[in-house]
């Protein structure tokens, strides 16, 4: 009757977070696409957050070395001011990834909270929440984004993430609500009601754990959406430009007319590739996660 009986001791394998992670990696290993995606995501996260700690930012211009093609000194060439492109790629990931991560976090929290409330309470509350989300869903996002960005002029990436989340949550709300509605009819949820375990227990202990996979997948997809949105508005110059990011590289490439120089090919291509490869990694990871989480394919 000690903690060992509960599997809390070392002798039992109550799947703790560590054991879960090991199991997760093991099932990922059997899906090459997912593994590549996972490695890609880890690579870009390290590149964006650890890279800047190792490589100093190079800000000095060198007009004699504009638009150099790749060489050993500049593996990805140089930009319109003769700065190293690789250096900018290393430094340009952090903001964009942070904004995407925060935007996805905020929008997921909003959608899950509102979706769960709408489905659990139902009635007029449900109608109102779904109505609001429908409005957000139907307005053209880019135009609203442009207007909001113009009015608020978000300078920090947290502010930008909040604006993005404010638009993105509506896409996730309906699926979350549908999930909760279907989970609510499950027999184990009915049993919990009959045992009078309370609404908090029902939502957080019975329902949410069963939506884990779903939420993770939508979170990642929300990140991809946020990256496109952020790239878009920065590229169009709709938010104040400061610092480094892949999107800002694209903005300058366009603003400085890099497109008209034949040798600027690598400069333009590098941020596009960085964004595309990161997005591709996320999407491959999602497709593998869908497999792994699908209970019909899971065994043991």
């Amino acid at each position: 009757m000690s903690s060992v009986a509960l599997g809390l001791g070392p002798g039992r394998s109550l799947p703790g977070p560590l054991a879960g992670a090991v199991r997760f990696l093991r099932s990922l290993a059997s899906r090459p696409v997912g593994l590549v995606g996972f490695v890609g995501v880890v690579f870009f996260v390290l590149l964006a957050f650890v890279g800047p700690l190792l490589v100093p930012l190079q800000e000095t211009s060198d007009v004699t070395a504009v638009y150099l093609t790749p060489s050993t000194a500049h593996p990805l060439g140089t930009d319109f001011r003769g700065r190293d492109v690789l250096n900018q790629i290393v430094w340009g990931g952090r903001d964009i990834l942070a904004v995407a991560f925060l935007a996805a976090t905020f929008s997921t929290i909003i959608a899950v909270a509102l979706g769960a409330v709408a489905a659990s309470i139902g009635g007029r509350v449900d109608t109102i929440i779904v109505g609001i989300s429908d409005v957000f869903l139907t307005v053209p996002h880019l135009i609203v984004l442009i207007v909001v960005a113009a009015i608020l002029r978000p300078t920090g990436f947290i502010a930008l993430a909040v604006v993005l989340a404010g638009l993105q949550w509506s896409g996730l709300l309906r699926p979350v609500r549908a999930q909760v509605l279907s989970l609510r009819e499950r027999e184990y949820v009915e049993a919990a009601r009959s045992l009078d375990l309370g609404l908090f227990h029902i939502i957080f202990r019975e329902m949410l754990p069963n939506m884990r996979s779903y939420i993770v997948i939508h979170f990642i997809l929300a990140m991809t959406g946020a990256i496109y949105a952020v790239t878009g508005i920065v590229f169009l110059g709709l938010v104040p430009i400061s610092g480094q990011s892949w999107a800002i590289m694209l903005y300058f490439a366009q603003a400085q007319g890099a497109i008209f120089f034949r040798d600027s090919f690598w400069y333009i291509l590098s941020p596009i590739l960085a964004i595309a490869l990161f997005q591709l990694s996320l999407v491959s990871l999602v497709s593998a996660l869908e497999d792994i989480f699908n209970p019909r394919l899971r065994n043991g």
Binding site: L6, L14, E187, Y188, S194, L195, D196, E206, N210
Partner: protein
Amino acid sequence: MSALLELDRVSRSFAVPAGRITAVDGVSLVLERGESVCLVGESGCGKTTTGRLLAGLLRPTSGAVRFEGQDVWGSSGAGLALFRRSVQLVHQDPYASLNPTRTVFQTLSAPLLRHHKAKRGRDVVSKATTLLERVGLTPADDFLAKYPHQLSGGQRQRVAIARALSVEPRVIVADEAVSMVDVSIRITLLDLLLALGTEFGVTIVLITHDLAVARYFGRAGRVGVMYLGRMVEMGRTETLVGDPAHPYSAALIAAIPEADPTITRGKERVALRSAEVPSLLNLPPGCTFHPRCPLAEPGLCDTAIPALLPLPTATGLGSRDVACHVAQRERRPAAELLGVG
């Protein structure tokens, strides 16, 4: 002293895309402490809805549900919660009734802690162990840390029963609780439920489509037969199975295939006038069985709804209730009138 749980002319209707159906129509049922009662019938007869009405999971459209004499839907929220806890439902599908993300211990400890039946730590572990031992899952230590997918169907059903017991219910409604487990272990599950009745005075209502199961389970109790939302017959199990009073019960019993080649191939059948079951959306007037009933009389059965009344016999009132005009008038069970059983 009032009955433990009572349905008093309870009806429940649902809106469906094609209109409104009455799944349960004026059903009355009185449950005493510690008794075992079976509800049998075919799909669409309303037995599951009746079970959910008994468990307080559905509110009746009309009629009253009384628990220890109190009208439960008239009382305040707290009274309803207490009533719901006192009547626990064991579902049919043990694969759906346990949360796949929670261990057996988590499943059992939540209600124990919530309702202060146990204190955190050692106490709740020992209480959960006791519950598992009570449902025959021993050694309990082997099961506490398991997830539902690591258990067999029979073991899951036992966990579901243990979870129901965690709140010390007075009534357990088992809805087809053995129909999805393997044939070879059904009897032990039925015995387990029956033992709860004899040992702890819990009233058990078993809902089943299987008359053989009903006969075994209800051998010391009563069986009610339902047809299209109404209770058509209710009586002591052996009497009802051996000598059904309603023509529908008689037809069912005569039709059941049995696990004995000689008996089953030589059974006398009741020839029904129609094989078609009327739609709940468009029920026939009078007795809903009359379009199929070999005993039906025009002008009688298709006009008035028969009430569920004790069947009079030559010696006075019999021990069972039947809702059939013809059997009541002839003072004889339908089985006799049809020449079967």
